[in-house]
């Protein structure tokens, strides 16, 4: 079973994404901030991370992405930035950090399912 990590500081968003993906054969993990996200990524090595950028705490989403992509152990994890920051320079920052895809809030849950199915096929 494919493993998906959802990272967002907003409970409502975490729940929305979880609910969206619960229809598929996925093992869903969640994290509230960057540090938690890194811990879970190393511990459970998910296949896909849906990663918010603006988060409280020491690391924001870009820091997490850069860290995971630099490490050979975790660099194979497919990372989709899921963020309210939709400006071109924000997307550019995400790609430079090593993210594979970029999803701007507000998003359509069905499109998110399509993306996830495509990635994890």
């Amino acid at each position: 079973m494919k493993r998906i990590l959802i990272v967002d500081d907003k409970q409502a968003v975490r729940e929305l994404v979880s609910v969206t993906l619960e229809v598929g054969p996925y093992d869903i993990l969640t994290a509230e901030d960057g540090q938690q996200a890194l811990d879970i990524a190393y511990q459970d090595h998910p296949d896909l991370i849906l990663l918010d950028i603006q988060m409280p705490g020491q690391y924001d989403g870009l820091d997490v992405c850069r860290q995971l992509k630099q490490d050979p152990i975790t660099q194979d994890i497919y990372i989709v930035m899921l963020t309210a920051k939709g400006q071109p320079q924000d997307q550019q920052a995400g790609l430079e950090a090593g993210a594979e895809d970029y999803f701007v809030k507000p998003f359509s849950p069905l499109e998110l399912i399509d993306l996830v199915e495509q990635v994890l096929r």
């Binding site: 729940e15 994404v17 920051k85």
Partner: protein, 827 residues
């Protein structure tokens, strides 16, 4: 007859021949006769040896006329007598016509002797004539040859039938003088055609006199073939005539006198020159005795030529030499040939004449000195001019020096804008250096108050503090008159005494004598701005130049002082402007910094509010889509609908805040509808909601019930209280007590305090609290907010004429103070 007569006899009859010879012997001729009968014999014997030929008219093979013809063909002048027996008138006439000397009949031979004798005489006479003519011809030829050798030309004129003169001949020399060859001259009708048109009358008169038979000489000009004008002297004379002869021929000789004429004119010119020169020309012998004394000498020295000839030159002119190393003695002159120098000589009336003298030795053809010539030029005028020039130059130089001083001082005066510096220059460089004064005062004239104030005073290099002296009223006194007249005034006795009664002058008088006091007005822009006073301890005479210099200096000083004053004003204005610019710059910089900060805050705000707006939107959109797409049980459906509802409420609040901010921004402030309000009622309606949603916090409301009613907008004030409690909760994430209390703050104000035990706010953040978009703990994104809450809160409090301020200690918590107006109306 000194010799024998040779006779050629042409006769065929011997008797007739004998008869002839007999007759000739009878009358006494001694002769030799050769008889011939034929033409051949005749020709053989025919020669100039023969003295006479006697010929028979008719011969068998020959005849007399043929013989005569042959004789003439031989060109021999031998008398030919025809002797014949037949008498024929025709024969006689033919013979005589042919040129025979005579014709005789044989039967009348008695005439023979006389006929022969006459023929011989005739021939002798002819011969003599011939010889004379030859001599004449040769003589003429010689004369012509000689003429050809001279430059002069000669000619002969012949009177023609019309009574006019024609050139008979002219010598080749005419070409050398006129350029026209002899043939050309003849073709022109003689050289008279060449006469210069102005001299035509002369030549006509010349020829007229000649035609009267008189010799005549004239001088006239001709124009040569190449256009030159030459002078000729022509001597013409009629040919000498024998008695009764008619005058036909005239001779002339023309001589080229051009050079002579030129020399003459040159001589005339020189003679004129000598007469007309303005220099005295005096010649002396070697002992300096005067030999000649021209007209100019008479005029210059006043002595007539007749008075001085023969006198020693120096007895006449009394020469004084000066500035010359060589006095021109006779010895000196002989050695050096000439001398030139300026000397002084005396006029007859005894006054001195400056003279530029040139002396030269005159020598004869062998180079021996024979005398001295002096050319003396009167240089009185030049000397006068020179001395005038020197005087003018000296004046100019003096004037120039003054101008240089003036210029230098002017430069120094202009170079400074410091009044004291100006006065020092004036004192040192003008008063002391140029005029030798010991003290100066500079008085400023106050036109409005009609007083002067002493601006500067210096006595013997010691500056006096002039400011302690009272202003001096100006009226009809020396200073006043100087100001009114605008002219420098040197003070005399009474005026000086009047001046010395003034306090400052008393002081100066104690320091030094005030012998000469000069007042000079300072004029600037046509107004007298003050007076400079120069003081000498000794009498001093100011001349026009000094006064002019001083006036100029004073005026320049006035201008410089005016400049200095203006400069000071300008400096003040500049300083003031600089200050203003500085402060304005600081303000602008601050405003700019504020704008930059605002701009940054705005960017942050937009970014933040986008995020804040998107979060509820994401949830609403996401859950509503799931609700639509999926079959969910009722619990989950309700749960998702509640979440949508919460997020919509959050979104609504956010939009309200943004609207409030935009209203405040637009300057409309917060709309307040004030009414009496009990605070406790408002707080009690709010706290329970928080108590419910924040179970970790303890809420405490004290003293509020005792407070008087406030005048407030219940909705807006509720917004304030909610916001402040919400902040207190947000910034005390670990829980703790949140206290809301209040008290009467002043006669018309109450104070409400909301305190927490949370993280507190740093001093830096504290200062900015309440500013729009400012969020304390901005780095802590866990604490949600737009940064608008406190900004709106502050605006609302201020709209109530209240105040808000914060008190906080990091780690201990924060207290917010709000004052509100007490309700004063009747309820």
């Amino acid at each position: 007859m000194d010799r024998k007569l040779h006779i050629l006899l042409l006769e065929d009859n011997p008797d007739d021949a004998e008869l002839l010879l007999h007759e000739l012997r009878r009358v006494g001729f001694d002769f030799e006769c050769i008889q011939v009968q034929t033409k051949a014999g005749y020709l053989e014997q025919l020669s100039e040896r023969m003295d006479i030929i006697l010929a028979d008219y008719t011969l068998p093979q020959f005849d007399a006329l043929t013989a005569l013809k042959l004789l003439q063909e031989r060109n021999l002048d031998i008398p030919f007598l025809v002797v014949t027996g037949t008498v024929s008138e025709e024969a006689a006439a033919a013979s005589m016509r042919q040129g025979a000397a005579d014709y005789l009949l044989k039967d009348r031979l008695t005439r023979l002797g006389s006929a022969v004798r006459r023929a011989l005489d005739d021939r002798k006479l002819r011969e003599a004539n011939r010889l004379a003519e030859e001599a004449l011809r040769q003589s003429e030829e010689r004369y012509r040859m000689i003429s050809e050798l001279t430059s002069d030309f000669t000619y002969a004129l012949i009177l023609n039938g019309q009574g006019s003169l024609e050139v008979e001949w002219i010598t080749e020399a005419v070409e050398r003088i006129t350029g026209y060859s002899r043939a050309e001259t003849l073709a022109l009708g003689g050289w008279d055609a060449l006469v210069h048109e102005q001299d035509r009358t002369i030549v006509r008169e010349h020829r007229r006199i000649l035609l009267e038979g008189r010799s005549h000489v004239c001088e006239l000009r001709i124009v040569t073939k190449n256009g030159q004008v030459r002078w000729l002297r022509d001597y013409a004379k009629p040919e000498s005539l024998g008695e009764g002869e008619h005058q036909r021929r005239f001779f002339g000789a023309a001589q080229d006198i051009t050079l002579h004429r030129q020399a003459e004119s040159h001589m005339r010119y020189q003679a004129n020159l000598l007469r007309n020169v303005s220099d005295a020309i005096i010649s002396t012998d070697l002992n300096m005795r005067i030999l000649s004394w021209n007209q100019a000498a008479e005029e210059i020295y006043g002595w007539e030529s007749s008075e001085v000839l023969g006198m020693a030159l120096d007895d006449v002119v009394r020469t004084q030499y000066f500035n010359t190393p060589n006095v021109p003695t006779a010895e000196y002159l002989q050695a050096h040939s000439s001398w030139k120098g300026e000397i002084i000589q005396l006029h007859k009336d005894g006054f001195a004449i400056p003279v530029l003298s040139s002396l030269s030795v005159v020598r004869d053809d062998d180079g021996r000195a024979i005398g001295i010539v002096g050319v003396n030029h009167d240089i009185s005028e030049r000397i006068r001019t020179e001395s005038e020039m020197r005087r003018l130059n000296a004046n100019l130089e003096k004037r120039n020096n003054e101008l240089i001083t003036l210029h230098e001082v002017g430069k120094r005066l202009s170079a400074t804008l410091d009044a004291t510096q100006v006065f020092r220059v004036l004192y040192q460089d003008v008063a002391v250096a140029v005029l030798g004064a010991e003290a100066i005062l500079v008085l400023n004239y106050d036109l409005f108050h009609r007083v002067v104030r002493c601006n500067y005073a210096i006595v013997q290099d010691v500056e006096i503090d002039a400011t302690i002296y009272a202003p001096i009223p100006v009226d009809d006194d020396p200073i006043g008159r100087c100001i009114t007249s605008r002219h420098p005034q040197q003070l005399k006795g009474e005026d000086k005494a009047q001046l010395q009664e003034i306090e400052i002058f008393r002081t100066i008088n104690q320091l030094q004598e005030m012998e000469s006091v000069l007042l000079v007005p300072m004029t600037s822009s046509a107004l007298v701005s003050g007076v400079i006073i120069l003081i000498h301890s000794k009498p001093y005479m100011f001349d026009q130049v000094n006064l002019a210099l001083l006036t100029t200096m004073a005026n320049q000083t006035a201008i410089t002082l005016e400049n200095a004053r203006l400069f000071d004003q300008v400096q003040m204005v500049i300083t003031e402007l600089e200050k203003r610019v500085e402060s304005r710059t600081a303000e602008l910089e601050a405003a700019n910094a504020a704008l930059l900060a605002l701009d940054r805050q705005k960017t942050d705000f937009i970014s933040t509010s986008a995020h804040e707006l998107r979060t509820p939107l994401t949830t609403i959109q996401g859950f509503s889509e799931i609700l639509l797409e999926r079959q969910l049980n009722e619990d989950r459906s309700r749960r998702y609908l509640r979440m949508i509802n919460e997020q919509a409420t959050q979104l609504n609040k956010l939009v309200d805040d943004l609207l409030d901010v935009s209203r405040i921004e637009m300057g409309r402030g917060v709309t307040i509808t004030a009414s009496p309000l009990r605070l406790i009622d408002l707080v009690d309606s709010i706290v329970p909601t928080f108590a419910e949603s924040s179970p970790h916090h303890k809420f405490q409301v004290i003293h509020l019930a005792e407070l008087p009613m406030v005048q407030a907008d219940a909705f807006r004030l509720g917004q304030v209280i909610r916001n402040l409690i919400s902040n207190a909760v947000k910034y005390s994430p670990d829980g703790g007590c949140i206290t809301i209390d209040g008290k009467v703050y002043s006669d018309n104000q109450v104070l409400i305090r909301i305190s927490d035990e949370g993280v507190g706010i740093s001093e830096g953040d504290l200062r900015h609290l309440g500013e729009k978009f400012y969020r304390a703990h901005a780095s802590n994104t866990a604490i949600e907010g737009t940064g608008l809450g406190l900004y709106i809160t502050k605006a609302i409090v201020e709209s109530h004429a209240g105040e808000i301020w914060f008190e906080s200690r990091v780690g201990c918590g924060t207290t917010v103070h709000v004052t509100l107006p007490i309700w004063k109306g009747t309820s």
